[in-house]
Structure formats: structure tokens, C-alpha cells
Symmetry: C3
């Protein structure tokens, strides 16, 4: 008897928000420290780069929260949490380095993300799942 | 040996927000194009119809995002995404037409939704699941 | 043949937001009616107690919404929904009394929560799951 049993479960959720004006997207050091080259190219191609950087920034925070790891100690390696649109334009999370290791240590193999920005506020929601 | 194995998984999440004042609920064309008769009757019965229309509007956007379909091309048929309270007052998503077809093509058979509005901002979260 | 089949599913989601200034955390009656001793001690230890109380308050509302119970009739026993950080600082939901009974009647055995506050707004997201 062969049984293929799927076991997906939510391991954590994360929400974050910021005023777009409070995310220093005009600061090259902030950008290069926290965003990958692909993210930078994408955000700069958008109608409002500042809004896109801010949405991605709160997205990274939401993903970090969804992983349920302690934020005490070393600063979160936000560049290790990469959020890029897939072929349909749906934002998709790719984890690298320490973030990937943290996810693996919790059995997380997929993080769903959604981003939104109004004229002033960026908000994001993330859901980490194991299977 | 018979095995009944449930396989639910999240296929996508969606978050959206708008200033209530930026949703043109005073515009009869906007309302009739985007809301079903049952939604209109419900929102008009609420203490603040403008807030209710705005919450439902961001709810439809959040559901649309959770379905993970491309927004390029044809405008999203927002009227096909209907959000009405169930007997307990819990907002519930009913999909029709193109939105229903898009959900079925992704195996989505349930979309959870939650709505919130303050005096100025409406926000919604949606989670699409397959099983 | 032994089959261990996990069956987790989302039973509801909840989102809530408030202006921090609209949550009367300066009011001892409001605080003692709605927060447990452990929550009060935690919030008072934080850099901005008002923001922490407000985030927890919208968190309780989001958990309540995620349980999908009618809010008509008796006021929600918000003190029965307790949100405290775990050892890693991740906010965790403990249900007591009526909230625990409501969750059990729906088969909910875990509610995931995430909280966020900017300088002015607190927001929370909750996801109730059964397994």
C-alpha cells in the first residue's frame, strides 16, 4: 500500500507597515545593503521607485517575522530575503544565506507574500509554510 | 486499505489598502460596475456606507491578488468577486464568472477574507486555499 | 498498514487596525478589563507602552475575527485572548474562557498572529487553523 500524504502547515505569519517617506530609498548605502541587484533594477523600473522600495522593505520585514526567528543579536540580513515578481507579476520570495538557513531549520519551504502601497503607506503580509 | 487524506494548501495571499476617501463610492457608475446587488444593499444598510464600500473594494483587490493571476490585459472583473457576510456576520467570498474560472484553474476552492476600516483607511487580507 | 495523515486547514483569518491614539491605554479601567496581568507587565516594559497596548488590542480583534464567531450579543471577552511573546520574541496567542470554548467548538487549535505599529497606526493579522 502506497500512501502519498501531503502535510502542509502554516509555521508563522508576518505583517509590517511603514510610511513610504520613512524608508530611506534615496540613500544608496541603505539600498545596496538591503536590496539585491535584481530588486533594485525592478524597483527603479516602476512608476514610483520610492513606493516600490518601501513595499519591498516592509515585505522583507513581514517575511522575517513569519520565519519566527529571534531578532535579538545580529541584524537581520534583509538582502537574504529577496522579493521579485514572477512571470504573472505575483511577488515571490527567494531566500538566501542566513534567511534560507533559518527557514530550513524550521522546515519552511515556501513563504507567500503580498504587498500593497497607498500614496503614503506601504504594507505587507507574509505566510511561511512547511510541507 | 483505504486512506482518506486531506490535502489543503495555501496557494496565495493578498493584502490591499486604500484611503476610504479615494474609493469613489459616491459614483453610481463605479458602484454598479463593481458591486453586486446584494453587496450594494448590504453596504447601504451599514452605519457608514462609504467605509463599507471601501472595505469591500480593497477586499476584492486582496482576493484578486491571492488568486495569483496576472493583472495585465483585461481589467479585473471585480463584480465577479462578491463579499457578503454569512449568518454569523463573517465576510465570505463568492466567486463568479472569470474570477471563478481563474480560481478553478489554480485548484482554489476557498478564499478566506478579513476586512477592517478605521475612520480613514480600509484594509483587507485574503488567503486562497486548495484542497 | 499504518497511516499518519496530517490534516491542517485554515478555518479563518482576521485583520484589524487602529490609530494608536484611539486606543485608550491611559485608562486603567480599559486596561484592566481587556488585558491580562502578563500582558500589562509586558506592554509597560516596552519602549512605547501606548503602541504596545494598541498593537495587542488590534491583535485581539484580529484573533476574534479569525475565530469567525458572531460579535452580536455579548461583548467579546478580550481578556480571554492573551498575546505574549514566546522565548524568541514571537507573539503567541493563548486562549482562555469563552474564547477558548469558541475556538474548540470550531476545531481551532492554533492561532498565528503578527503585530505591527508605525508611529501612528497599529495593525494585526491572525490566522486560525485546525488540525
Amino acid at each position: 500500500t502506497e500512501v502519498l500524504s501531503h502535510k502542509e502547515s502554516t509555521t508563522g505569519v508576518g505583517v509590517d507597515q511603514e510610511l513610504i517617506s520613512s524608508v530611506p530609498s534615496w540613500n544608496p548605502t541603505f539600498i545596496s545593503r538591503n536590496f539585491t541587484d535584481a530588486e533594485i533594477a525592478y524597483c527603479r523600473s516602476q512608476p514610483s521607485p520610492a513606493a516600490s522600495f518601501a513595499a519591498r522593505w516592509v515585505g522583507k520585514e513581514a517575511v522575517f517575522k513569519s520565519l519566527g526567528v529571534s531578532s535579538k543579536g545580529a541584524a537581520a540580513p534583509m538582502k537574504d530575503i529577496e522579493i521579485l515578481p514572477d512571470a504573472s507579476g505575483v511577488p515571490t520570495v527567494n531566500l538566501h544565506g542566513n534567511a534560507k538557513a533559518a527557514a530550513e531549520s524550521k522546515g519552511v519551504n515556501k513563504v507567500h507574500i503580498s504587498l500593497s502601497h497607498s500614496e503614503t503607506v506601504a504594507i505587507a503580509f507574509a505566510q511561511a509554510t512547511s510541507s
